[in-house]
Symmetry: D2
Subunit: 402 residues, 4 copies
């Protein structure tokens, strides 16, 4: 069990840190100004494109991709994890390096399951950062954590699939650059539960596809959106199936593991930044005759934060190591475990930081409340905590029930 | 220790419940539609005015006022508490009944400390619901929980006070009807800590008063606003002092107690509504072959919610009873205690409700995320939890240190 | 909802407090010395008998009994509750006043369901404090929180019942004065679940009754014991049935409510004493240059303790009031609620007190660890927390499922 | 950062696991029987000596020692950690392998700081398992977490040191084999705080040394005792100083790090066993018509246990790795961190296991309550959680205060 970075990854990390300090962190204010000036919550600001050009030039591009392809050597989960943490420190870094969800997972499954033609048409421009994509699985009307509940219909009619259904919280669907949806739905409702679903590629401008509205997260409107999308008899050629028909469940599973590492490490990076903000704040603020940093309760928060973050990071690295060395399936307990642990750790820390900041903590003057809102959704997205804990418990109990 | 309602209050509660069912709850959707149609986050929708007319007709008006005046008999804190809980169930009920903060506290101190002229000019229209008001105490640059930190200057020059300083999170300041600010600041910086501050009445249109911007709360923009307000050599006649010069600290203290009861009971009402929403949701949602209501973990949340809410309500009623019977000063431990306990109880319940709702819980389709954000600020406003807990501890320790 | 004490109860409370200060608290050390000198964990020390004589003389005797009888007027649950809290402050006070479990519950059901002959033989000497009793329900081999699991057989053979089964954690069974067991078991295994069980009175010296061993609680051996008791074809006359045959479940239910109030209020009294010990300790202990009482984290514990205790007390008084005014059945949610809330509150406080005391906290030099152990069992006895929370949740959900 | 075991350690672990299964676990019942038969809480049962012979023969002896000596090659902290976890699964394994506290720490400082003569007389027989030892630091009258408070006097008079003071919770002092005390006390009360203390070796039979009494832990009497020891003008030759005069503080620091790894890994082993017991229990117990293992709340406990244990283990291994690779001083945050985290994790798990077992959980029929009591002391011993958290916070804040 060796968590050391490979020389390649160590080198990338050093260069990524330099990029953060030299370009990304200074760009955050530019980003805020350009967004404010546009008056459009879904505006795509120029600074992002500038950062993308620079990241590409610096070779800090598509770092997430685990597989060797024509575009990259591929980094193991363990090698990519610390890079994801670094990018997690800024809300604009992942996109700058073409490492932002949901594109990352989408690019991965296109690499693994896409036909040469699909890859040419969609994967290549995604890898170039020319277009963006969305992944449409969750539905408003069913408990989507139980994937067998997914009700959208994908019906084959001759050479076409006809798609009907309602999806929501489809991240990225409001992006001006989003051109392709990967949609999960039922092709064979009468098959065994895990063989009912398929995934199809649906260009965004397909007739019958309507982005109904944007869903908020707390009061925030995400730039790329979390949209409600309606499919009404939308038609695509049968060649747009991803992988095999009725194989959607397996693709969804394959998509999960690495994404969890990415989310968790980015979340750890965000929580580290919240902790730094809190430390700076309490050192500089005086109440009742002493610095907040001297208050025992606040020191308690800081100590808990340090302990919990270090534990959560080690747990995530361990999970990444397991995925690299024994496979995603054998790491199922840990993949579920980090999904539960990391967002909860981060939320506790951010909540304490908010408390230390007082009113500024819930305002637009610090990133804390927006971080809280975004990470709060991770406890729901892709199955609520409770579903993942049940999985873990059942696997633990199985050791004893033989 | 008798928590029974007086006959007057029992009658009011019955009539208020009828008003809620018949008018207020059905008006919530109208409210949302009128706000959406206006495209202005600070719009004052007609439905509020309609409800106000109706509330006045039904005699459900200014219920909060504890003191007998020409306008009302006055209700004790204990009698008003259950009415506040009922109004807390809807975000528009308090305003409909002219029982919304910060006007309530402002009307109370104008009743207690205002001159006849001040009452005529400001209190009367407030009690009529014709204008609204703001209370400007918190400052961005100092830990305002320690009131001696307040730095805004109120300097007497001849027959005028000249006010300079920056305030923020001034609730109500963005309301189209807000006409008067009650501002706390230093008149005598060299006096003993609790004799440095005064309160003055500053009409909103006074030259030198600028509402700089609205502060958000977790992405939300409050209709009436939480504003940053700049006072630059704003001048008011000396007659605009509230109470005596250098007596601001005492007025602030007097304002606190009843406001805490109001906030806590409204919060309990809101949490009860969140619990109801959660129960309805889990009864109607199926995952992995059974209703969410049958899941043990969710039942655990519901049981904790019922226990904690009932405890919190009794604690608040007890505090109200103490205030009525032994006075605010003797109830200081309990006034601090409910300030800490109630919002934390409510946040746990709302967070569980969000979790039970999945993505809908953080969205605009349920009131939960906005409730969470609003109640989260109660852990900061008017002193963070930690300050109030220290007060309680010191009073407890004092019993033993003799 | 009036929690005021009746004049009778107020007078009793005053006299009980005097008895505590004058006699009971000073007797604690005598008690410890007499127990240590005896070298027998089940010794019955003389000081207890002395206190009993004094309590009787002072009219502080059998205070718990809610029903008017030839021996007492009876106190309502609400009137008795504060007296139970006072007695809970000392581990020897309840027995001194003949208000100790399990006798209290046993006396109550003998009053309600006993025949004149049973009352003459068992209830009278119990009320006089001449003998003690045990209540044998829990069994080691089944989850006894589900009373339908109780497997002990009570079989009628002619004029006798023959009892066979194994019970454990039978409190009081090791007492030298214990003369009677009230035993729950199945008389009709084929009946509907709640009509299978009966209760019979079994004198301790009945052949076939063996007190197998004493069960420990953590490392403690209770003076009166928590015993494992074996019934092997023990025979009693049919006249020893308590109430009607197959009516055991209903008697068990009737026994529950008041006992919960007693346990909870005694627990609150014990937690108040732990809080006092903690305050005294931290005021007198210095580390790293300041008193522990000045440490923010310790102040946080003290504040939480005050808030949680006051809430728990009000909740218990409310439950007592409900039982007195609307009946035990209508108060079922609250009876379950205090059963869950109060011991958990007390354990948190005692654990903090242990932490504040350091090594002394877990030792025999403070009462804290033994208090912790005893109250820890309350989360298990008479159904674990989880069973009671499920009851509460189901009742809450029922409001919405119509 | 490589947590892999060296080939030597991997081989030892395999052989240790075999020893556990073949000898240690079966010996637990023998141990209990021999202790019960002796009627003496401080009896030294033969089975321990038998296991020691076997462990020596198998080469599973003194595994803890990090330094290469004439007796062993030495294992790194990282290599020893998993062995400590394995031994932690049984309360008798550490002693069987001569790896029990406080001997381990004592042997380590004798190796590092002892003179050849001291090593010959005390270290050698300790390493052979012929004698045992105690470490006397904590005092009842001062907050010993602040080592500068230690008040025992060690006064040089001619060729002797004269020791006067009172210590308590001196582990091992009641052991029949304990022959030597390492005692910390003040040789130079006027020096700088960290240069006041020395350590001296005091044979147990020295005149003036009295083992006053045994201290309990939650009612339990440890076999080897946690004693109060009185030193009244006890005299030892000056040659009995350990290391240099006034160097006691530094020795105490050196003793700390590895001991923390040992304690934490043993605690993790104990918690793993508690989790196994809980899983077995809930799979075999039925209430309200289904297995406890199917209850959602219990599954939640199991999942939390798995997540928290895996995190705590990784954190401890990481700390061991840091100590091996960058030194104890650089690992100070982490050494404090595991001291706080691991016992709290274990206590939560054991408490849940107790709850799942019902009455059996607090009884002598499962090891759970005794485990709880023992691990509860770890939150106090060697400084309470709160002191270690303050250390962590101050180090975190220091990063930002430059």
């Amino acid at each position: 069990m060796d968590f050391s970075l490979s020389p390649t990854a160590a080198d990338l990390k050093e260069r990524l840190l330099a990029f953060m300090v030299e370009r990304v962190l200074p760009a955050e204010e530019v980003y805020r100004d350009q967004m404010a000036a546009s008056g459009d919550a879904h505006h795509h600001p120029q600074v992002i494109e500038d950062l993308k050009v620079e990241a590409k030039e610096r070779g800090l591009w598509n770092l997430f991709l685990p597989h060797k392809t024509q575009w990259t050597e591929g980094l193991s989960n363990l090698d990519y994890a610390p890079l994801a943490e670094v990018m997690g420190r800024s809300p604009i870094a992942s996109e700058a390096c073409n490492c932002a969800a949901p594109d990352t997972g989408n690019m991965e499954i296109l690499t693994m399951f896409g036909t040469a033609e699909q890859q040419e048409r969609w994967l290549h421009p995604l890898l170039e950062g020319e277009i963006r994509s969305a992944f449409a699985m969750t539905e408003p009307d069913v408990a989507s954590s139980d994937a067998t509940n997914i009700a959208t219909r994908i019906e084959r009619q001759g050479d076409e699939y006809v798609i009907s259904g309602r999806k929501w919280y489809i991240s990225g669907a409001a992006s001006q650059h989003c051109e392709i949806f990967i949609v999960m739905g039922k092709t064979d409702p009468d098959a065994a539960p895990h063989r009912q679903q398929s995934m199809v590629l649906i260009p965004r401008d397909t007739p019958g596809v309507t982005v109904v509205r944007n869903m908020q997260v707390f009061g925030y409107t995400d730039r790329e959106g979390h949209c409600e999308v309606l499919f009404e008899d939308a038609r695509v050629p049968v060649a747009n199936i991803l992988g095999e028909e009725n194989g959607g469940f397996a693709i969804a599973q394959a998509r999960l593991g690495p994404g969890r590492i990415h989310h968790c490490m980015r979340t750890i990076g965000a929580a580290e930044r919240a902790l730094e903000l809190m430390c700076d704040r309490v050192l500089g603020r005086v109440a009742f005759g002493k610095s907040l940093a001297e208050q025992g309760v606040i020191q308690d928060w800081i100590a808990d934060a340090r302990i919990e973050l270090d534990q959560a990071r080690l747990y995530t690295l361990y999970t990444a190591w397991l995925m690299d060395n024994v496979g995603n399936k054998a790491a199922r307990t840990e993949i579920a475990g980090i999904k539960v642990s990391v967002p909860n750790v981060a939320l506790r820390i951010i909540d304490h930081a908010i408390q230390a900041f007082g009113a500024a903590g819930v305002s637009q003057d610090t990133p804390l409340a927006q971080l809280y809102a975004g990470i709060r959704t991770l406890r729901l997205a892709d199955g609520p905590d409770e579903v993942h804990k049940r999985t873990i418990a059942q696997r633990e109990l199985r050791k004893h029930s033989a």
